[in-house]
Subunit: 391 residues, 4 copies
Amino acid sequence: MNTFEKSVMHVGEMASGAKLTVPIYRYHSEENSNPNRSQNLSPNLSPNVYIQANMHGAEVQGNAVIFQLLELLKNCQINANITLVPYANPVACNHKNGEYTLGRFDPITGVNWNRMYHFDQAVIAPFAEQHLDSAEEEIKTSFQQLLLAQIEQKLDHNSWGLTTGERIAYQLQAMAHQADIVLDLHTGPISSKHLYCPEYAKASASYFDIPHTLLIPNDFDGALDEATFCPWWDLQQAFSDVGRNFTMGEGAFAKESFTVELGSQEQIDLAAAHQDALGILSYLKHKGVVESSDEHDFSPQAMTRYACYLKDYRALYSPMGGMVDYLAEFGIPLAAGEPLARILRMDNYGDGDPIHNITLNDEALPILHFASASVNQGTELYKVFTNYFTL
Amino acid sequence: MNTFEKSVMHVGEMASGAKLTVPIYRYHSEENSNPNRSQNLSPNLSPNVYIQANMHGAEVQGNAVIFQLLELLKNCQINANITLVPYANPVACNHKNGEYTLGRFDPITGVNWNRMYHFDQAVIAPFAEQHLDSAEEEIKTSFQQLLLAQIEQKLDHNSWGLTTGERIAYQLQAMAHQADIVLDLHTGPISSKHLYCPEYAKASASYFDIPHTLLIPNDFDGALDEATFCPWWDLQQAFSDVGRNFTMGEGAFAKESFTVELGSQEQIDLAAAHQDALGILSYLKHKGVVESSDEHDFSPQAMTRYACYLKDYRALYSPMGGMVDYLAEFGIPLAAGEPLARILRMDNYGDGDPIHNITLNDEALPILHFASASVNQGTELYKVFTNYFTL
Amino acid sequence: MNTFEKSVMHVGEMASGAKLTVPIYRYHSEENSNPNRSQNLSPNLSPNVYIQANMHGAEVQGNAVIFQLLELLKNCQINANITLVPYANPVACNHKNGEYTLGRFDPITGVNWNRMYHFDQAVIAPFAEQHLDSAEEEIKTSFQQLLLAQIEQKLDHNSWGLTTGERIAYQLQAMAHQADIVLDLHTGPISSKHLYCPEYAKASASYFDIPHTLLIPNDFDGALDEATFCPWWDLQQAFSDVGRNFTMGEGAFAKESFTVELGSQEQIDLAAAHQDALGILSYLKHKGVVESSDEHDFSPQAMTRYACYLKDYRALYSPMGGMVDYLAEFGIPLAAGEPLARILRMDNYGDGDPIHNITLNDEALPILHFASASVNQGTELYKVFTNYFTL
Amino acid sequence: MNTFEKSVMHVGEMASGAKLTVPIYRYHSEENSNPNRSQNLSPNLSPNVYIQANMHGAEVQGNAVIFQLLELLKNCQINANITLVPYANPVACNHKNGEYTLGRFDPITGVNWNRMYHFDQAVIAPFAEQHLDSAEEEIKTSFQQLLLAQIEQKLDHNSWGLTTGERIAYQLQAMAHQADIVLDLHTGPISSKHLYCPEYAKASASYFDIPHTLLIPNDFDGALDEATFCPWWDLQQAFSDVGRNFTMGEGAFAKESFTVELGSQEQIDLAAAHQDALGILSYLKHKGVVESSDEHDFSPQAMTRYACYLKDYRALYSPMGGMVDYLAEFGIPLAAGEPLARILRMDNYGDGDPIHNITLNDEALPILHFASASVNQGTELYKVFTNYFTL
């Protein structure tokens, strides 16, 4: 039997004193909420889930996906706790700059809102040493408590204060650390759907209805997905260093975090969001979190799924200022030397070359491009998969 | 025999001293450049043309259209002077705010770049009185000289200086006043193609390949189209007040100015620009400026052309903050009560109404909508034709 | 006996659904709140007062002045209703752009927040005709009701909606129309204190502790001061046109509105705010609104008070891009030809002139200058009084 | 005998094709420009100098300081090459956002302009091994060539392109690597003068006329000062690791880099710049770069010089949104518990606490504060020295 609960979290305050809040929706599974639950790693117990959207202000489609998830979950059997957080960063999602939403970074400092989560590598090795002989269940419980305690320390015991973004990020991260599966819903600028997936969780990528997967290593750079899986990956390696072997992705280490890129920013499409929600439920059914409903069996769609390693995900920066006609379609392999884009330079008309074709030296799979035709020299034009393969 | 010429105009200077320039392309018709030309209103003489693009920074497609016009004009017979000015406002078109271009207004003052052109109504009546008995040719020549002299006075004899936008606008306007036909190439935010057309020039609207026409009255509000036709319209009325009748749009008063809205901002599409250029050449052929080429006969496309009066072009402002799924398609009549858009408000999920349908009380023809899904209470959502009719 | 009341007004909603509110503080005078009050124009009855601050986002010092006014009013006898509204425009005052507050205009549309108030000139003449023989008290009551009804119509009966700024402005204006004295607290960029004062109210300017007064004519351009006094001025003139003479500033027409410029933007100085509050109370005591307190007698300071007419308040626009060393001090007459500023152009060092002196052709009194050293060609450098005189 | 030379470097291109350039001023010392110079570490040879300003757009005072340095150097004997680069980042210094200059980060990406310089730690150890027995002169020459070759590789052999900021930074860095002394002229927001000084160069700090010195460790975080001294510091340590000892700051390792914070941003003050220039020349005279002139002996001023280690330079983030009255004066020790600032919250007036005092738990020396009164919860309010001492 599940219960559904709505609450509101206070995450920021503006100059007029206006409070910024985040709505939180939770399905509580009776079983998973049992206080003894974490002592029990039985395969029957389903992983808890945390899903948030809109950490970057212009990346709004995840809110619609959470809406459709909530609508679909009404008619599902749910086997675990699921927490859903739309409008995760109201400072960003309310910040209009001209007609658009200035959403990737704090407009005062420039710091990317998704590079402010916390991870202190220094705690890993001591924990492994201390728990060399602990039961796996205890390792899971204690390490989660350690992660939560660190966040609480940052939030509540810091006389010098926190930046605007840290305050938001840490409050979200405290919820995410209580889950086993973390989905951070983002979008690209003008973009295909793609998925950031930890290398060890590659098998899961095929359960999402997403044709492009980036396999990311165990490097912490401040993002939520990294902040939730890297500590466990590092812990598993620290145990390995001291002679105790666990498998990342299994048992106490059954932690998976994904950044789900839902397409283009600045758009809400409720019909597309329904499809996106079905894809997420396909993955969650695979993990045992939900069961098929009468209406939907939550199976992954058949499609070619391309993947590449993060090191092979390349950005092309514009070799000149100008106005860009983006030519390459997303998800369609582009041969070396074929035009990716052409750049108009009307100032060169008549005495120079008004059109410059932009090509790559190697075959690539275009994934996303810049949101505006107008670029400076050095603006990121396209991001592409190179050395890609099918899953 | 035509000559083609490129020049560069200095329009602004930034804090580092960087100079901002505008490229100017000109076809000179031997006949029209004859100094005696304006004394001769013979029907054989074709009207001179001025075309500019990108006065608003994000509205870049006009630059691509000027590129395609220049390419097409290479193979045309040209009967008049044609001046083409891309990147008309480099201050605006170089001003990035986040990923997008902040282009509708001076980022320092907020003043719309297309509300800074000059018109001094006070000179009209005295001119009409002074030229009550002048020949029509002389009226045309003298009034044009008066308009140019006023601009020159503003540009060169002003010890208090000019605003950044006035300096740009006046330099462009001095070129536009030397033409009979003025086309100012703009775009909407996310938009259908539409045309701002003076009421008296309605017959010309059907020669453009544009399905939506706004018929605008003789009110000066600072835009280039108004700044170039309103003085002549007012002059014709001033002559009428003192008993001499001319017909607006004919003879000395054969002046037509249009703001051509080419679709959506932030986009360059060279293929679409080729089509847009053909539509403009269709109008110019109708006016005798160009002849059909071997490849193209420059005839207007068959299409339903809707029109409405400016007073019936209505903006709908959002009744709430939220995230918008824009539903109504451009150019397809929307019945009263049908949803134009729906607004997602996830904060209301669970204890309120998370989806609000936005409807209109009367049938309307959607023309454009806001560029972002995220809106404040009071953001302009859609602009629509009401009381529209077919041309 | 007065009562003090706090309330909160909802003025806007952002994309996340966050509500923006404005706090309102009111002293109610028993006598003035008598429903029969407006039927009674006895000289013993004091004018009601409306004071707001921070309509422009960066102009925050007025909030501190309202704080100090509230503190001082605690110990005063108050003879009228006083309404005080800090943070009048939370959309603007919460809008950071980089480190600073983008406050003068709607960041989406560019429209100046203080140009959105309502006035429909068309209602004036019919009202005068209708009330040609009405008692003066009735004229006052009925015209105020008309103004309020127009605002209410705009706010509540508009199926096309209102812009973000109109919704805020109209809600504020409804409060202001219920007062006889309106003070709109602003600041300049880097600025001296100065006062916008209607020409007919010149005598009142000497009761503020402000050394510079701009005398403004009866032209409505959308600002709050104009929106509250112009209707009455026009009405008085409309009565005059039909043969009934009232004196503007007296009896039913005893309406005074001022825009009070408190110095520079982006600053809170509570000590200076205390002085500013004393100056405002000096004016209010003169008007009979408050009495001297034990601590303060609320008398104007002795100072030279300069004034000029609005037409003689001139802006100087930068003749070049560059970096400005602002030299002229505010409030000190600057002789013709003396340097107002010098502009550094390091790009010209070595082969040109790296320093340009900026001078004026006539004596002037510097009032304010631009907020940044970095200017484009055409940026407003200074505003100065010319043809000024002492009050 | 010196020669003076001006050149212009192309560093960027905007959407209209407008080129952005940087002026470069160079004094060439005949001796130091001798191609054999670097083979000669004789104590008579003076260090070459590189000085740039305005990498952050709003931090303009350095341009004025370079102007005054150039004026003063006209009358000095100069013993080395000096390169001076004002307007180092024209993309940033021309980017107005509202009235102010958005200068700390790329407005498209948010990346701090002063975090994009290059340093590849991986080349250090191999170089030390390879040059274990090289002459010191050869080490200096070869390592400089290596650093320059790396930059050249990045600039000219990168088929994926460079970001806007990298292109600028690398071009500047190529000049800086050719000098022994690097001064990067910055400012704080509202700020005292302070100096970032490598720990090993502490003795030099007393030759600048700057009362506050931050001693920074050998950590590379992307800034120009670090990018120019860290490679040498790391090299010296790498040699030490393999058993060859050099002293950082001497001989081939006589490299000193400083970030000089000249006060507050958004201001040009040519008189203050003259003083700032004298302070820099005092340091350069100490290093033997210049000799006293007839007019100036270039000696440091007597003043108390406070210093602290970078780890003790603390930022205080606002515990709430509100409007700040900054109280603490720069450079004056503030006792624990004394108010640093007070925050006005008018929304709390009447039913809460409208004024919040902000205090610190320990004594501190205030160095700079935020540029605007309006802050969000989490905005950096002040930066202060803790555990400071006198030099």
